[in-house]
Each structure stands twice: as structure tokens, then as C-alpha cells.
């Protein structure tokens, strides 16, 4: 492995990447690619943060996918009902996000009850919730929709330009032009959640419960209460993440969130349960999830470049052939393959919370 990671090869890779990016810079659709990446990255970061809260408190939360899906289901259902009222569009979306978050919180209570009060196996309970939420979303969705399919549609009319901020060069174009307000809200929530987890008294207690619950208990912390609170916050974040993922990237909800809950789990583990690294890995995965859009962009960029005579002509031609002949399915599976490779490289000295997965039993102290 390390043979291929020599300094020279890395520099060549970086140079090619920079060159592609510069070539794309003039392309207007470059901003679209970045924006699409953000639409994936921010929910992914939020849900990974949801996982961080739960696992740092000592409760493994494999139910993230299910909680996210349940939150998105209830949220989009709300949006479907509210959208044609005469309420301000942005307000409707914020209500939707809040309701989705609350739905996630309530759903996550099932996980808290099983894994904290009933001391059951947390992976089993999480798996059950994942199965349950898919079943519920399809079953209830079909019962409520007139067409008999589980699809819940909504009209897409919530993009906006933010005055003043949109005039900032580059950043203004990416973050504040033609953007969904809830995506920015998601980023803000992520940052606030990270600060709470690391800079407050509650955050310290939270992490203590995941590292050594018996010591935390001896110090007068109510482990059960902290764990309940943390898993609830986890449910809230994951539920909101579900809505924030679906609204910008789709116009209907079909009882699926494309495996983002599981991907968030992978992000959390690759990010070693730390907020900053989680954000970096979310960005990487958000980009990979939009790779097929990106490849199309690169193709069109190469189309423009091929006309020019240059020293690197041969390289262009080879890369051009490579990108145009890559089957769509191979591009689609790239994020998952990259996840495996990253996990293989980072997991050896994994620094997960020590007590995660173990039910806390006060009697064992």
C-alpha cells in the first residue's frame, strides 16, 4: 500500500486534481457540483454528529438509518400537508425540519428504552428499529397516499438568495446564492452540537459516560439520565438530518434515504468519533456521493480542453477515454469502496468510546 503512496505519486495526483479543478473553475456548473456536494455533506455530518452523541455516551446507535428515515418520513408528510397553505415557504421548511427532528427524537426513545432501561443488546435493538421504520414508512405512506404507492411528493420552491452575503466572491456564490436555508441551518446546528459536546459541563459528563460509566456514577453523575438525554439528542439530530437531506436533493420521498444513515456511521468511525474529523470525512463522502455528476462535469471540461494543443495532450486523451468509458455502476459504488479502504487504513488503532455497546448496570460497580 505504502509503495503507491510515495511522495512523488501524491504530488502527481495533487497536480492533476488541481489542474482539473482549475479547468472546471470557468465552468458555471462547477458551483452546482459544489452545492450538490454540500447538500449531501451537511446532512451526513449532522447524522454522524447524532451518532457521536449516542456513542460517546456509551450507546451504540446502529439505528441511525432508521431514525433518519422516520424523521424524513414524518417531516416530508408535514411538508406535503403544509405546502399549499399561505404560510411563508422558509417558515414551512423550518417547521418541517423541527417536526422531523421531534419524530426522530420520539423514535429514538424506543432505542433508549431498550438499550438503557431494559439493558438489551444495542445492535439488536438498533437493527429492529431500522427494519421497523422502513416498514412503517412504506405501510403508512401507502395508506395515506391517493395513488397507493409509498411516494410522498412535495413541490420544490424553497431556494433563495441571501442578500449582502451573496456578494462575497466565490464563497457567496457557493454558500449564499440559490441555496436552501435549511442546509445552512444544518451547518449551524452541527457547529453548535460540536461545541456543546466539547465545551460544556454536559459534554464532559456525556463523554465520561461513554468512557467509564462506573467512575462517572461514582462522581455523582446519573448515567441513565445522561444516556437518555444523549440518545434523544441523537434522535433529534438524525431526524432533522433526514429532512435536510431529502428536501434539497429530491421532490418526493419513497421510504428511502439511500443508505446515508449507515454511511454516517462509517463517517463517524473513520472520523475517530471527533467532530472536526467527522466534518472532513463528511465532505469527502458528500463529494463521492455526487461523483457521477462530477464525472459528467470533468468530461465536458475535457471536451473543451481537447481542442488545445499542449504537452499534456496524451494525458488528456487517456484521462478522457478513462472517464467517458467508466460505467455508471462503477462510479456509483466508489463511495462504498473508498469507505472500506479508509476504514482499513484508519481502524487499526481505533479510539472509539470504551464503554460503547455495554449496557450500564449500577449493580456491577
Amino acid at each position: 500500500m505504502s509503495k503507491y503512496l510515495s511522495k512523488r505519486n501524491i504530488w502527481i495526483a495533487v497536480a492533476v486534481l488541481v489542474y482539473i479543478l482549475v479547468a472546471l473553475w470557468n465552468n458555471n456548473s462547477f458551483y452546482n457540483l459544489v452545492r450538490w456536494t454540500l447538500y449531501s455533506t451537511i446532512p451526513l455530518a449532522m447524522v454522524a454528529m447524532a451518532g457521536l452523541y449516542s456513542e460517546r455516551s456509551g450507546v451504540v446507535n446502529i439505528a441511525l438509518e432508521g431514525i433518519m428515515l422516520f424523521g424524513a418520513f414524518v417531516g416530508i408528510l408535514t411538508l406535503n400537508l403544509l405546502q399549499h397553505n399561505n404560510i411563508d415557504g422558509q417558515l414551512v421548511l423550518i417547521i418541517t425540519v423541527v417536526i422531523g427532528g421531534l419524530a426522530g427524537l420520539i423514535f429514538s426513545l424506543l432505542h433508549s428504552y431498550a438499550s438503557i432501561t431494559m439493558k438489551s443488546n444495542q445492535v439488536i435493538s438498533g437493527t429492529a428499529l431500522n427494519m421497523l421504520s422502513v416498514g412503517l414508512a412504506i405501510f403508512v405512506g401507502r395508506a395515506l397516499s391517493s395513488s397507493g404507492t409509498e411516494e410522498i411528493g412535495f413541490t420544490d420552491r424553497y431556494k433563495l438568495n441571501i442578500p449582502m452575503l451573496k456578494d462575497i466572491p466565490v464563497i457567496g456564490d457557493i454558500l449564499f446564492t440559490n441555496v436552501y436555508l435549511i442546509t445552512l441551518l444544518g451547518l449551524l446546528i452541527f457547529v453548535v452540537a460540536a461545541i456543546i459536546a466539547y465545551k460544556t459541563k454536559y459534554g464532559l459528563r456525556l463523554r465520561a459516560c461513554g468512557e467509564n460509566p462506573h467512575a462517572a456514577d461514582a462522581a455523582g453523575i446519573n448515567v441513565y439520565k445522561i444516556r437518555y438525554l444523549s440518545v434523544s439528542i441523537s434522535g433529534l439530530l438524525a431526524g432533522m438530518g433526514g429532512v435536510i437531506l431529502i428536501v434539497p436533493t429530491s421532490t418526493s420521498f419513497k421510504a428511502s434515504i439511500y443508505g446515508y444513515g449507515f454511511l454516517a456511521l462509517a463517517v463517524l468511525i473513520s472520523g475517530q468519533w471527533k467532530p472536526a474529523r467527522v466534518l472532513v470525512f463528511s465532505l469527502l463522502f458528500g463529494f463521492l456521493m455526487n461523483l457521477s455528476n462530477g464525472i459528467t462535469l470533468v468530461q465536458s471540461a475535457f471536451d473543451g480542453l481537447r481542442a488545445n494543443e499542449s504537452l499534456l495532450q496524451g494525458l488528456y486523451n487517456n484521462l478522457y477515454l478513462f472517464f467517458t468509458h467508466l460505467p455508471k455502476d462503477i462510479i456509483s459504488m466508489t463511495p462504498f469502496i473508498v469507505t472500506l479502504i479508509l476504514l482499513a487504513l484508519t481502524s487499526k488503532n481505533s479510539q472509539g468510546p470504551k464503554a460503547a455497546g455495554e449496557p450500564y448496570d449500577q449493580g456491577k460497580r
Partner: protein, 365 residues
């Protein structure tokens, strides 16, 4: 009677029955909320349709049970050795492709054709389990995340492989398996007058018995369980923990591949290998079966029969205006409640012990 009550397996069976009843009640509540007038009819359809139609009904139950038992065994085997194999779906999809490929193309093999096809399926499943196995053993990558990623990769890989080799582009599915490649029916279809029924159910029961023997009666099984129980202790006792982790997931993957072969090596009336962007649901049902069977091979056979029995209400439910997802909801909630069984058991033990104390009998034996 007293001895019977104190048997641990009795406690387990009683708590399983409690969780089944609780799951059914939850399903009833959901049905009542959606469509009150049909709810009780729907529940009775779920409870009775397996027996109300006589022999063909039982044949249908057996047909549905075979894949459930096998995928359940795949999950249960890994679980017994401390690994949570969520990747049964992916292993099953790859196994199914290899089996169907041999079933379609290798007619020259004559009478051993179907045996080779089944073995090929097992090999395919094994191969797909090898990657997470090596990652777990040598790179400490959590098998839950890696097998989830492998599921997504399998989804794309099997689609590409089918389309490249044995594709029937008109029907958008794999070509039909030729007669010599099908799992033999052994006149079971005539006995139960159910034309789809083949010997898959016998293979499943045999596999259950074999796995029981391996786990409970051999040194190899003991070593596997020891690693699952406490990896470090097993290592200290001289067991090669890494090799056993690899073996365990490989066997689990082989059983998953066997399930894929049994499901798809059928005549045209059975289920066809389709090409769509979806992860096979059989693997997740297998998790339900294994957990309900408490990861015991014999228990898994029975829980597979039970869930196959519920599943056979599929047709009947339509006439009560309920979709099949209600079955998924019920099995998910059964799993959820079955996670409580340890808690129930503890209380049952306490209660029984108290009861014996009052009678003045000898309790501490």
C-alpha cells in the same frame, strides 16, 4: 414440573412467545390506526392463512421458510461467534449470481449440474464474506460497517455481472435456469400439491442440523464460540483468534450463498434474479429469524418456519386491504421485544426462585 420450570431453554421459549405476542399486538395497533374495520380480519389472516388452505397452504409455508431458515442460519452462525453479519444480503446476491450463472450456462455437467451450481453459490457467498473477514481479523475494521458497505457494492456488482453475462434484456432479468441446474423437487410439489415447492426446505433443515453439530459437538465449534465470547481470553488459551474470525465469516457467507442458490435455482414459475438498484431483503429477514431463534441453529429453524408461516399470509392480506409491509412491521417489533428477553428471564428467575422459597423446597441446587 419444577425441573421443567427451571430449565433455561423453557425460560427462553416462554420469553420468545411473550415477544411474539407483543409484536403481534403492536401490528394490530398499527392496523387499527390505519383501517379499523379490517384490522381484526387482517390479524386473523396472518394467524390462520398458513393452515386454512390445507396442503397447498402448508406447501407455501415450507416454500417461504427455506430461504428464511438459511439466511437466519448465516446470521446466527456469525452471531454465535461474536460477529454481526449484516452483509448476508450482499453475500446472498453474489452467491445467487454465481449459482444462476452455472445453472444457465453449464448444462454440460449433466446429473451433477445442480450440485455444482449450489457449490458455486456457496463459493460466491464465501468470496464476498472474505473481504470483511480479512478486514476484521487483520485491520480491526468493525464488521457491521464493512458488511453494510459490501452490501451496496454487491448491489452494483451483481447488476453489472448479470447484465454482462446471462441477461434477458426483454424481461430485464436473468435467463431461466435449465432443468438439470434446478434444485430437485423430490416429489414434494406433488405431496403438497404446490408446484413451486422444491427440496430447499430439506436442505435448510439439514444445514441447521449440520451447523448445530459443528457448533456444539466439535472442537472447531468450541474454538469459534470461545473467540466470540472473549477474543483475548481465547487468544491467551492458544486459540488463533484471527483465523477463527475469518473462518466464521466465511462459513456464514457460504450459508448465505447457499440461500441465494436455493432461492433462485428454480423453474420459471419461481423467483427470478432481477437487475434493479435494491439490496436483497432476504438478508435483513435473516437477521430477524436469527435473533428470534436466539442464534441457536435449532431455534433458527423453528423461527424460520414461524416467519415463513406469517409470510404466507401475503396473498390473503391483499383481500383485507393490507399490504405485505405489515408483516415486516410485525417481525421488526417481535425482534425489538425479543431484545428484552434477557430482562424478562432475569425477572422470571427471581419470581420462580421466590415461589420455590415460599413452598420451602430446595432451590439452590
Amino acid at each position: 414440573m419444577m425441573k421443567f420450570l427451571k430449565l433455561e431453554s423453557t425460560e427462553k421459549i416462554i420469553s420468545t412467545i411473550i415477544s411474539i405476542i407483543a409484536g403481534m399486538l403492536f401490528g394490530l395497533v398499527v392496523m387499527l390506526l390505519i383501517n379499523p374495520s379490517m384490522a381484526f380480519g387482517g390479524l386473523s389472516a396472518i394467524l390462520l392463512s398458513g393452515v386454512s388452505q390445507g396442503m397447498p397452504g402448508i406447501g407455501n409455508v415450507l416454500f417461504n421458510s427455506a430461504p428464511l431458515i438459511l439466511t437466519g442460519l448465516a446470521v446466527a452462525f456469525a452471531f454465535k461467534t461474536g460477529l454481526f453479519n449484516i452483509g448476508v444480503s450482499g453475500q446472498l446476491m453474489i452467491g445467487a449470481f454465481v449459482a444462476v450463472f452455472i445453472g444457465v450456462e453449464w448444462g454440460f455437467l449433466g446429473p451433477i449440474h445442480w450440485v455444482v451450481a449450489i457449490l458455486g453459490g456457496m463459493l460466491g457467498g464465501m468470496l464476498w464474506a472474505l473481504i470483511p473477514a480479512l478486514l476484521k481479523a487483520y485491520r480491526n475494521v468493525h464488521e457491521v460497517v464493512s458488511t453494510i458497505m459490501m452490501n451496496y457494492i454487491a448491489m452494483y456488482v451483481s447488476k453489472m455481472l448479470i447484465e454482462a453475462t446471462i441477461y434477458d434484456s426483454v424481461r430485464q432479468e436473468a435467463r431461466e435456469v435449465i432443468p438439470s441446474g434446478r434444485v430437485p423437487q423430490l416429489f414434494l410439489d406433488q405431496i403438497f400439491s404446490f408446484e413451486k415447492l422444491n427440496s430447499g426446505i430439506l436442505i435448510a433443515i439439514l444445514a441447521g442440523a449440520l451447523i448445530y453439530i459443528i457448533l456444539e459437538k466439535t472442537t472447531f465449534g468450541f474454538q469459534l464460540k470461545a473467540v466470540g465470547y472473549n477474543r483475548d481470553a481465547a487468544k491467551y488459551a492458544g486459540v488463533n483468534d484471527k483465523r477463527n474470525i475469518v473462518y466464521s465469516l466465511l462459513i456464514s457467507g457460504a450459508i448465505a450463498g447457499l440461500a441465494g442458490a436455493v432461492i433462485y435455482l428454480v423453474p420459471g414459475t419461481g423467483i427470478k434474479l432481477e437487475t434493479k438498484y435494491a439490496i436483497s431483503p432476504y438478508g435483513f429477514q435473516g437477521i430477524a429469524v436469527a435473533l428470534l431463534g436466539m442464534s441457536n441453529p435449532i431455534g433458527t429453524v423453528f423461527s424460520g418456519l414461524f416467519l415463513g408461516y406469517i409470510e404466507s399470509a401475503n396473498q390473503e392480506l391483499q383481500s383485507w386491504d393490507f399490504k405485505r409491509e405489515i408483516i415486516d412491521i410485525i417481525s421488526a417489533s417481535i425482534i425489538y421485544f425479543s431484545a428484552f428477553t434477557l430482562y424478562f428471564q432475569k425477572y422470571a428467575k427471581k419470581y420462580i426462585a421466590k415461589w420455590f422459597d415460599k413452598k420451602g423446597g430446595a432451590t439452590n441446587e
